[in-house]
Symmetry: C2
Subunit: 733 residues, 2 copies
């Protein structure tokens, strides 16, 4: 599966990365990444290079852009270039239709409207938290799948939100103006305050969501205005065994045979949304060589980070994270052996952990690849040399790289504490998250909007409120497991003699403390949370709930290390990354795509295989292949529905396919469309080589992996008898 | 705790390292490490440098030896230099007495004879496998401690062996003569055959153990002849809570408060051994500034590896190992929550894993330290430049580094398979180990001695037989857990489509296969094992025991990858490391110490603290400090015996102390002696900075950590009423 935020599915597991998170509804805003290499015009003969076209600036030859590289902005798409490369130049109207038909799903996935009645297609792994939340010991929809035979059977997801991007405005001048001449904490405060102000002006009602988006690591600021939908209901999901056939062993691999799909429906005022933009369905789907587009929300790439940031990720942050995830994997695996209910309730967490583990391993491998590192250092050297060679640029930008390297050194000293206390890796618990949310809401909402923590500004209120009021079940055993493990990890990382560790643990063992907090807290009950949340500062400060008290105990040190991080690290990186972005614009021109930041992007590519160890990998699998691969045992067991209905299937139907589209985690659930804007597939993964895409795109073997549109209709019709959905889709094609 | 082989306690967990293992009784012989930097004579004024003394060759100034660096051979000890530095020059007689009073304990620890009646002192963590094996659900000696009030109460350890080093002979000419002009597989075969031959000639009876020891990575070969004792009985052990007070959080840290001691007794012909060499006990023990010696068996240092080997360890081997250990830590931690019996039976394994985890983390940090890497590359560059500058040396040695780098590249391709199949990380199970041992013994013992796998030569037979006949219990649940985890890991590393993975798993899940093998096997019964072992090839090939059948299924691929490893990697490294060793001798002279290889070494140092974050760490703690640190909760809970007898104790008694002695894993249980050869302490750990000692010794902060001799007598007498032991020790002092 892709390496997504996935609707909060993996919680902070994916997003505790100091340099990783960006733009999540409730996460602190962190510095996004800088612009990538400038495009070269490989499609054009050298003689016709237009020197006035900034895109041709890379004829310096140093950094040729691979053909299909790029996660492009929908308001700055290289149509002309695409026309030259692939013979199709999308119009702005075409791009606008794509933007309005695409969906942002949950806190970190993508999706698409596929009917005029609010039907949204996304991945199973993007909706699995909802599916799990709607399940119980008696009815496990993860195992059995879910199909609402009629509209009234559609079940409301407790925490799901879907957004549609209705407008993009450039607000660069306002934001840069507000921070002019400032540095350090002052720079950071002004920068954040201005963004909060702009967002508040924009989000005039709760059904609008407005985010100021940092692009090119501070080179540009755009205001993204979304229609917000919080009444999202589950229509159809297959069994986990089919959605994630092949499990962890096959994850990030190809050939592949996964039906990783879920259909949701957006409701408005209690009725299915009607009359909006949507993608029509292709009759034939994609075949080898076809041009494909992917519209989605890649959450983060780091193609423009400096060498110092690269080294920190490679040597400190990611290896430490991998060790934590490995230990948690072991804990949950053994927890699952305790019984079928334990197996069920730990399912999505373990899935998320294994997915992250495999994903981060791939990233670390890319970071340790001497070729990737060599390319990174050469690029930085070239840009720095150009800056040094021009007195004005040297004066303006020359110190930026060293300043970031210094900030990384400071980060090394505080990273453990920051990750543990503020990013929550030392406090892994749904109940703790609720307690902190309620506690912080009570103090933050009492402040003026511009002075609040960024994730508590008014424009984020509906998302916070939805979380607080969620009816999702919380399980004591699992809470005790996660919180004990996290507290043990915190003690190990900070040391048993650390004053904070002593303060929170006292004479308790981590397990004793976790047990006492979890068993004693009443926050499992949404009504209790609601009362505290709505009661505000007075109610919360009077609360004797042990988890609220614990969150209060942690609060001073958590805020302190956050402040140190923001003032000494974040603001320095932000300020100087902005300078590097400016230098890069000056040297290479502006028509390059910015690093991914969780906002809507469009990539183009082709259905294509690759070579693996000298052998050709063909780009399309078939439904028959799934039956060939099945062993009958997890994770290679096809569900009963497949076995029973095998005879009804056309086994030659294309099932999964690989394309050269440049995507990354967050793109899960993205529609794959053809040049007519029709659905030909559904992104759900990348191959193992795509994991290095965080740092560089290599068209040679980086491949996106999708479910084929034909397999979707074939299985929904002939395995699941989901005729209502099939007809709705067919009617609109 | 130190990072030891520890009597097989951690099994392959510590020794699955491809470049790590060496000289273990049943482990394949792997290339040991090369000599370290030449010593500089820091104690002497520059004017008096004696140019004829090879030790002064490093006045090139490039690599000054820290004062107390060195794990010296007892037949090549720098007495003269020590005399200059510390005013005491040990005589050969003094050294011989130390050699004969020191003990090799189990498969990877150290110890010392401390009475004329065979009393041996070692660490609790070196004997804990025996203590656990003697325990049951009803009587848990790990928790309660053990004290034999009379000789007849002393309990025989099922798998313990103690060795005393009676002679060292230089056999370099024989071994080098046998391989002259050979390369690749031929070199390797001849090299091993000659070693097996020499050992067989030496070990004329089962009570002798003879090992040819590779020193200076092939520069020298010595024959070590040991008296072998297999009747080893448990006399005294404190509670785990006292032996490992502070647990994993305090592990490798200091100040420290651990009573990590166990007393064993060597029996011969059913009676306590009598009349041999032993260390007398110091009246006062060591105090700050005192000169200290440590005699023990450091199992491995890698101070002389090449840059290519360094990078492989840093980027591939150790990070992968850490992830496996982290996951296993999680599995066992959660397994322990299932009940008190599960907590008990998983105890020593979890302890071993946590110890390895912390130890390897420290090593990786050292490897990632740019300063350490810089020093390593500078050293290699200097030596290579000297070799290149001399036509004869260039001709003889010039290609050695690139040859090793090529071998590392080959290793990258086969490492996963080698580690999983042959080193056993994909087959983690006591029953599997027994099955493989019996299977291999049956085929190997049928071959001529020189043609066998090195760990099955005649001189190793007594150790193999002891293992096969061990009465140590084997627990199904734990076996299923470890084997499932290992098989899952193997599938992940080799891929679900790997032909070997498909062959062994078939359509089973890893857990199903593990359960079937463990539940179905009769090898838990020592009588069944004995019958197969003694029945030889016919009995074993007729066996239908599922674990024997499984071992047989695995065997062809395991042997194949071992052969590839030995022919393409090991032999190349061995041959070329030998060339580098020769080059180093030629350039720097011979009077340097060889890298540790699990053989007896003597290091010298002083009782000394260090500076940590600008604060002075004092080198001696007291018994009173343990009570101050206690919280009453694991792992900071002192046992009841301590609480009850607190009033009887002199709380100012020195408890643990730190010294500058250059030690490493395998030194656990080593005696700390003064210049009169009297016991002043008992090594049990190093501080966190000592972990980098694998790659370089830094006298600034690398410290060995010991239990003080005074605390040993004070607690044995006043807490444990172990008057029999106390009197025996006092009588001999």
């Amino acid at each position: 599966m892709m390496f997504d935020k996935a609707n909060g599915l993996y919680g902070f597991i994916l997003f505790g990365l100091v340099t990783g998170a960006c733009g999540g509804a409730e996460k602190a805003a962190l510095p996004p990444a800088p612009p990538a290499a400038p495009p070269a015009d490989e499609g054009r003969p050298a003689a016709s290079v237009d020197k006035s076209d900034p895109r041709s600036s890379a004829t310096s030859g140093s950094r040729p852009l691979t053909n299909d590289e790029g996660m492009w902005l929908l308001n700055d798409f290289p149509s002309e270039r695409l026309g030259r490369l692939h013979g199709f130049a999308p119009s702005q109207e075409w791009l606008d239709h794509v933007r309005l038909s695409a969906a942002r799903v949950g806190m970190g996935c993508s999706g698409s409207f596929v009917s005029p009645n609010g039907l949204v297609m996304t991945n199973h792994h993007c909706a699995s938290r909802c599916i799990e939340q709607l399940s119980s010991a008696k009815k496990d929809y993860i195992a059995s799948g879910f199909y609402a035979k009629s509209e009234k059977d559609e079940a409301k997801c407790p925490e799901m939100e879907i957004n549609q991007l209705v407008a993009i405005t450039d607000v660069t001048d306002r934001v840069l103006g507000a921070t002019k001449g400032l540095t350090g904490a002052k720079f950071n405060e002004a920068n954040k305050a201005e963004q909060s102000k702009i967002e508040k002006e924009c989000a005039k009602s709760d059904d609008l969501r407005c985010d100021v988006v940092t692009l090119y690591r501070g080179g540009r600021y755009h205001l993204y205005k979304y229609q917000r939908y919080q009444d999202v209901r589950l229509s159809f999901a297959p069994e986990f065994a089919s959605a994630f056939f092949g499990g962890d062993p096959d994850n990030f691999n190809f050939p592949r045979y996964d039906l990783d799909v879920t259909f949701l429906r957006v409701y408005k005022d209690g009725k299915p949304l009607s009359g909006g933009h949507y993608f029509k369905w292709s009759q034939s789907g994609a075949k080898e060589g076809d041009l494909t587009f992917v519209a989605g929300h890649p959450h983060q790439t780091s193609r423009g980070i400096t060498v110092a940031e690269f080294e920190f990720l490679r040597d400190v942050e990611l290896p430490t994270k991998l060790l934590r995830l490995s230990e948690w994997r072991g804990l949950l695996t053994e927890f699952q052996t305790k019984g079928p209910e334990q197996k069920r309730i730990a399912g999505s967490r373990l899935f998320g952990i294994e997915n992250s583990l495999k994903g981060i391993k791939g990233r670390v491998e890319a970071l340790r690849d001497p070729e990737v590192f060599g390319k990174k250092t050469a690029e930085e050297k070239e840009l720095r040399a150009k800056v040094e060679g021009d007195p004005a640029m040297k004066e303006a930008f020359g110190g930026a790289w060293d300043a970031i390297a210094d900030a990384q050194k400071k980060l090394r000293n505080i990273e453990s504490r920051y990750i543990m206390l503020e990013k929550g890796e030392g406090l892994w618990s749904d109940l703790f998250d609720q307690a902190r949310r309620i506690l912080r809401a009570s103090t933050e909402f009492a402040k003026p909007n511009e002075q609040r923590l960024r994730e508590y500004v008014d424009s984020r209120k509906p998302a916070i409120s939805q979380k607080v009021n969620s009816t999702a079940p919380i399980y004591d055993d699992l809470e005790i497991l996660t919180l004990s493990a996290a507290l043990t990890g915190m003690r190990a990382e900070l040391g048993p003699d650390d004053a904070f560790v002593r303060k929170v643990l006292g004479k308790d063992t981590p397990r004793e403390l976790a047990t006492r907090l979890v068993k004693g807290s009443k926050l499992k009950d949404p009504k209790v949370r609601k009362a505290l949340f709505e009661g505000g500062e007075n109610a919360v400060s009077a609360s004797k709930d042990p988890m609220i008290e614990f969150a209060r105990l942690v609060e001073p040190e958590a805020r302190a290390v956050r402040k140190t991080y923001e003032d000494d690290v974040e603001s320095v990186i932000k300020k100087n990354a902005e300078l590097i972005a400016k230098a890069r614009f000056q040297v290479y021109g502006t028509s390059v795509y910015p690093d991914a930041t969780g906002t809507l992007r469009l990539s183009f590519g082709q259905v294509r295989g690759w070579e693996e160890g000298g052998k050709k990998v063909t780009p399309v699998t078939t439904l028959g292949g799934a039956f060939d691969r099945a062993t009958g045992k997890e994770p290679f067991a096809l569900p009963k529905s497949w076995i029973d209905n095998k005879a009804k299937l056309d086994l030659s139907t294309p099932f999964n396919f690989s394309t050269t589209n440049d995507i990354i985690g967050g793109n899960s659930g993205s529609p794959v469309i053809d040049q007519e804007g029709r659905i030909v597939g559904l992104i759900f993964d990348g191959n193992i080589h795509s994991l290095g895409g965080d740092y560089a795109y290599d068209g040679k073997d980086n491949r996106a992996v999708s479910v084929h549109s034909a397999a979707l209709l074939e299985t929904l019709g002939n395995i699941y008898n989901a005729s209502r959905i099939v007809e709705e889709i067919k009617a609109s094609r």
